[in-house]
């Protein structure tokens, strides 16, 4: 086994191109478990954890670019105003894990339980890839994560990061697991309201092979918010049958399985609970805003 230590992205891309079997390693919080337990013995690894080009983020005119190498701890420290992303980051692992883990790693591993992934999906994020031969290309999130632990990364490519437009309304990330730290989600969900477009985004994780946008639930809720006058009136509430209708449609959007962490039935139930609570938090936040203004 070889370990390659590039100093720049350019060097890393050359290495990637010349050693097709070389696996990129950043925080190592997924990869090292595989190595430690002999599940993986790559021909080579390329350390991308310190490449300066992957460790930055930029906010320009409401658009965010988040480098693949920004750790969850740095997201919490430097981007706390990106609420759902910050909440998702905080829910990952432990301080030790958050100091190393990255959104790039979530994308690279492409697990349906990756906590950053519902946030990216809710924001219609694009994933940036780069290679020495072809330069940059950008894929919609659902064209990059293709299945359980399967993504569209080319053998000579590295993940640059993700980009998306910020949303103006209340948003949250929530997660269910056996502890409130160090858990792989049994179900997780990102909810965002976008008053600007009068739309709602609901992205579900751990309840299907990939992240699911609950489109039916989104359309239903956006329409019911319109009926209730809630887009214009911050203090407007929704009748309980509408809240249940929303949760029901979120449950219907899930296609969970039984596995070691939980049953399909529990996951379906849990995702409905997360949906109902997330909606409640969003409406409460708007009501608070109404009182202040």
């Amino acid at each position: 086994m070889d370990v390659l230590l590039p100093r720049t992205l350019e060097e890393a891309l050359e290495m990637r191109a010349s050693r097709p079997g070389a696996i990129p390693i950043a925080g190592g919080t997924d990869l090292m478990v595989e190595i430690n337990f002999d599940h993986l013995r790559p021909d080579a690894m390329i350390d991308v954890s310190r490449l300066p080009e992957l460790r930055g983020w930029r906010e320009e005119e409401g658009a965010l670019f988040l480098g693949s190498g920004v750790t969850y701890t740095r997201i919490l420290r430097e981007l706390p105003h990106l609420r759902a992303l910050a909440e998702a980051s905080r829910s990952v692992g432990s301080p030790q894990i958050r100091n190393r883990g990255t959104v790039g790693g979530n994308l690279g591993t492409a697990s349906p339980a990756g906590d950053a992934l519902p946030v990216l999906a809710a924001h219609d994020a694009e994933v940036g890839l780069v290679s020495a031969a072809r330069g940059e290309r950008w894929l919609p999130w659902d064209a990059f994560v293709l299945g359980v632990k399967a993504n569209a990364l080319g053998p000579d490519e590295l993940i640059l990061g993700a980009r998306w437009r910020a949303l103006s309304g209340p948003q949250s990330f929530s997660k269910i697991g056996t502890r409130n730290a160090m858990v792989i989600a049994v179900a997780n969900l990102c909810f965002a309201m976008d008053p600007h477009t009068r739309s709602v985004r609901v992205a579900l994780g751990s309840v299907a092979p990939v992240i699911v946008r609950a489109r039916d639930a989104e359309a239903y809720l956006a329409a019911e918010l319109e009926v209730a006058g809630a887009w214009d009136d911050l203090a407007a509430t929704l009748p309980s049958d509408v809240v249940e209708g929303f949760a029901e449609r979120v449950r219907a959007a899930a296609s969970p399985i039984d596995d070691v962490r939980g049953t399909a039935a529990y996951r379906r139930h849990a995702i409905g609970v997360l949906a109902r609570r997330a909606l409640g938090w969003a409406l409460a936040e708007r009501a608070d805003e109404a009182m202040v203004s």
Partner: protein, 157 residues
């Protein structure tokens, strides 16, 4: 491969298998067995060390990734026979039973109090969420944190 780094303030170097974790590099190649191997998957925190000042699980860092870097381990806390105030606090509060989790917890607690000298209860629990203890039930560990924080406020460190 030869890995050169700074450990507890001193330049060190040793040969390591390319796939070795920092944990096995510290224990097997550098003669620093203070960091413990309980889970090898970043769940228990018994291997907690600082890499360039950040608290990490050494089992999840590839040894090669620390080439040219600074690592601080539990062995770097005491000064000769003088224990670090966090170590004293664990003794004072009775927060040690079998001792296996202790090095990792002492590193995590030191990290917390260096960054936040007066953490509230929730901040302490969140800061230690990456460390598991099978013996104590955590109460005396939390007492040790409070004791160490008190000592810090008194200027002991």
């Amino acid at each position: 491969m030869l890995i050169r780094l700074n450990v507890n303030g001193e330049p060190r170097e040793a040969d390591a298998w390319e796939g070795a974790s920092l944990l096995s590099f510290l224990r097997d190649d550098l003669g620093l067995p203070g960091s413990k191997n309980a889970c090898e998957q970043g769940e228990c925190g018994s291997c907690s060390v600082w890499l360039d000042g950040e608290l990490v699980c050494a089992c999840l860092v590839l040894a090669a990734q620390v080439h040219g870097r600074e690592v601080r381990t539990v062995e770097g806390l005491a000064e000769g026979d003088r224990l670090h105030p966090v170590q004293e606090a664990f003794l004072g509060a009775g927060g040690v039973q079998c001792g296996f989790c202790t090095p990792g917890l002492i590193v995590a607690v030191t990290d917390l109090l260096e960054r936040d000298p007066s953490p509230d209860e929730l901040a302490v629990r969140e800061a230690l969420s990456g460390n598991l203890c099978r013996c104590t039930g955590y109460q005396k560990i939390l007492d040790a944190v409070r004791l160490a924080a008190e000592r810090k406020r008194e200027g002991a460190w």
